[in-house]
Amino acid sequence: MLVKTAIRTLIVAALVIAPFAVTSPYYLHLLVTIAIFAIVALGLDIVFGYTGEVSIGHAALFGIGAYTAGCLVMHFDLGFWPSIVLGPIVAAAFGGLLALPALRVTGPYLAMVTLAFGTIVQILINETVDLTNGPLGIKLNTPFFLDLRDYGDTWSILDMSLKRMRDVEYFYVTGIALLLAVLVINRITASRFGRAFEALRDAPIACDCMAVSVYRHKVMAFIISAAFAGFGGVLFAFSEQYIAPNTFSFDLSVQFLLAVTMGGRKSRLGPILGATIVVFLPNILADIALFRIVVGVIAAIALCVGLYAVLRRRDLLPKLAPPVALCILFFVLALTMRSITDFRLSIFGLMILFVVYFLPDGIVGAAKILLRQITPAFRKRHASTQAEGEASHAITVTTDAVSADALLEVRTAVMQFGGLRALDKVDLAVTAGTIHGLIGPNGSGKSTMMNLLSGIYTPTSGEILFEGRSIAGLGSSQIAGRGIARTFQNVQLFGELTLLENVLVGLHHSYKSTLLDVVLRLPRAIREERAARQRAADILSFVGLRDRADEEARNLPYGKQRLLEIGRALALDPKLLLLDEPAAGLTAPDIADLIAIIKAIRARGISVILIEHHMDVVMGLCDVITVLDFGQKIAEGQAAAVQANPRVVEAYLGGAVAA
């Protein structure tokens, strides 16, 4: 915490005094460019770092922002303020146009589409001469807001010619813009939206089943990101005073990506650091002497850091040796090279490869990891939840009266996979407030039924009615929204989120605050977040994990992970909870806890469908049991009746020897 505050204060202080220290207009302009690139990189980080999708078209979105400004100036004689509002909006609109189709499928599609988009935008800017002035580009003026020379003599200590004044003022404008961008992104990433972005990357299916639509949130992340690119573009146009299509090329898109990866994803400092490097890079690569010095310094730093780390922890040697050796080798190479201008792009490419291989978490990420490994005391700390609550209020059911009618009714459901009929005309009726067991040998169709009920599969034919309404054919997140929550046979937690955050993702539905509320930190957003954290803590108490709330979920032992999954599902305020083998892999004491929890869940009026192979659990808990075999229902009834049913015995133990 302390380190963070110190870094923040330092950055702000540096921004304030920079124009007094940097008197060269060239370097001041470079600082402005860094701030602008940092804004774009920070925006790109939302897509690239958080959701894990790759965009190779951010230069084009950046260009769209810049050209929005250019066109407003050229055609309508409008200036900075209209542009700074419209630029992000236009870029966001284009972002939506790309993301809506491209994110419907998982895979490298967004990268491919944005790459194509980047090229097309350049072509279009060149071609639509009437609108954009084509290859000739557009000239605009840096805005001038206040003539500070009117405000006394304090300014006369510095050279304050009109031009310098303008430069300094614009520097502050971009500086403030950068701080604003950091603030907004901090707020978004700390909100339920940021959690959703991270969650969908870790476990997309589970995310959908928590009523958090993966698709919608990916699109949203991309649109936010595009808006930041457009915002940066407007600032860029007014800073450069001239824009031409060639600037917004594929190479620029790759530079933005490099800035985020090299600096470090999922942080504010990382993209800013990366942007600084990327902006300075052409200068370094233009001058062989400077290039050698920089490469030398990097090699020296790598050597020192490597040596220090290895002296503290010998086992780090094999991991650290190759990158350090490569840095030194590169320095030797730099000494032997006579000219670098021809190999600029190759060096750029080698940098990307180096980052991908040895700095996958970026400079900031690597520094954190190193610090943590060398000094175990430096651990990631999460905002702790102070509120202590009454566990009993944590779980609520929204159905007022527990009616005797069927909560869920499956009618002649068929699920066909090619030639395999995994479910063959199965009927199932779950009465509200009961625990309904679903058993059968492996491959009998139990999990298929779960996937059908939670919308992961769409039934080939048949009907599924939940509270009297058909849910067959709805998406997972819609079904989850109606009140069906589930756990998974192979645990699917959001590994990098804390336990509390995992449950908070489940509580996503309980928020009403919009993105705007979050960004402006309106009281509603603050209130809701506080309430949700309180409830999440209560739910963790309910499943007995309250004391580990701030640990990362992936560090939990297996048994506890299953309990956390149940907690996360309960956060959805479900009317029906699907438990897919919750006791699998659990130790005996854990199973006892589990049984108590499931009973408590029923006591609160939540109906449960339970798939389980531990027969003692099933027989002890279930009000009704349905037995499946080879996709067909072979028996149904109360525990004792099912146990006595000869067909069930046959399914489990094999047929009787031919009589």
Partner: protein, 299 residues
């Protein structure tokens, strides 16, 4: 009417080139769920290496036709090697780390490096690739077609059929198919899936290099020739479906013909636009591509 037929024929020729490159994407995507973002540069290098070989051979007194034929297997071998290098340097590590972004960044970086090397070795200007066939158009009814264009269409088809036949008939091809349908299971059956993925990259780059030497005689060869072609092939692969062999041929033809029509009826400047529009339309309407199959996700 005349012009219509002519446009369709020209579209088919361009479309087949797109198809071959997209076919390369498909090969690697099926085995590893990754593809080479520097595929265009594989095409560039193939064409330029081919050009140097043709220069070398004709300088030794070989006729241009013979030189072209001798050059072909060498370029194909170069393509194989180049693809293997891309996989080893760019993709393997990323697959191991399960990092989605890693292989995209790495193949882009390798593409940039290859382009830079090509610029340094062959210069920044586009070079004339001597045509192995007479450059006199054959007139078939209303259509004028260059002999080399016929070779492009036939060559492209032959290349795809050869690879398909190899995958279906040979035992190693079966390993490729097995890896494509389930990498983990194939690995458990003793198939060296790493090698199969390397091999698919090698084949993919070979296809691109082949496309390079096919198209260079009717355009020009240069360091930047591949970039846009690689990009168009993205569109083709998505339009046709990344999982369908027939898809890339049909997708290529659709895109090629749309482009020549746009170029003629609207403006050559907008020739590249329909690719993206088609791409977005297909993704919006049928995300798995026109010929793709929906994959059922496992939970």
């Amino acid at each position: 009417m005349n012009i219509l037929a002519q446009l369709i024929v020209s579209g088919i020729v361009v479309g087949m080139i797109y198809g071959v490159i997209a076919f390369g994407y498909q090969l690697t995507f099926s085995t590893s769920k990754t593809l080479n973002f520097g595929q265009g540069e594989a095409l560039t290098l193939g064409a330029l290496v081919g050009l140097s070989l043709v220069w070398f051979l004709t300088a030794r007194g070989l006729g241009i036709g013979l030189a072209y034929i001798v050059m072909l297997p060498l370029v194909l071998m170069f393509g194989l090697a180049q693809g293997a290098v891309v996989e080893r340097l760019g993709v393997r590590q990323a697959i191991k780390n399960k990092s989605e972004a890693g292989w995209i960044m790495a193949t882009i970086a390798l593409g940039i490096i290859f382009r830079n090397i090509a610029e340094n070795l062959w210069g920044r200007d586009a070079l004339k690739f001597p045509s192995p066939l007479p450059e006199i158009a054959i007139v078939v009814g209303p259509v004028r077609i260059q002999p080399m264009e016929v070779v492009i269409v036939l060559g492209a088809l032959a290349m795809m059929l050869a690879v398909e036949a190899f995958n279906r008939k040979s035992i190693f091809g079966k390993a490729v198919v097995a890896t494509a349908s389930d990498r983990d299971a194939a690995g458990l059956m003793g198939i060296n899936t790493g090698l199969v993925i390397t091999f698919s990259y090698a084949l993919s780059s070979m296809a691109a290099a082949f496309a390079g030497v096919l198209i260079a005689p009717i355009t020009l060869a240069g360091a930047t020739m591949g970039g846009v072609l690689g990009l168009k092939a993205f569109a083709v692969a998505i339009i046709g479906g990344l999982s369908s062999g027939l898809g890339v041929v049909v997708g290529g033809l659709i895109l090629g013909i749309t482009e020549t029509f746009t170029g003629y009826y609207i403006s050559t400047g907008y020739k590249d636009v329909p690719g993206l529009v088609l791409l977005l339309l297909v993704l919006a309407l049928k995300p798995t591509g026109l010929f793709g199959k929906a994959v059922i996700k496992k939970v």
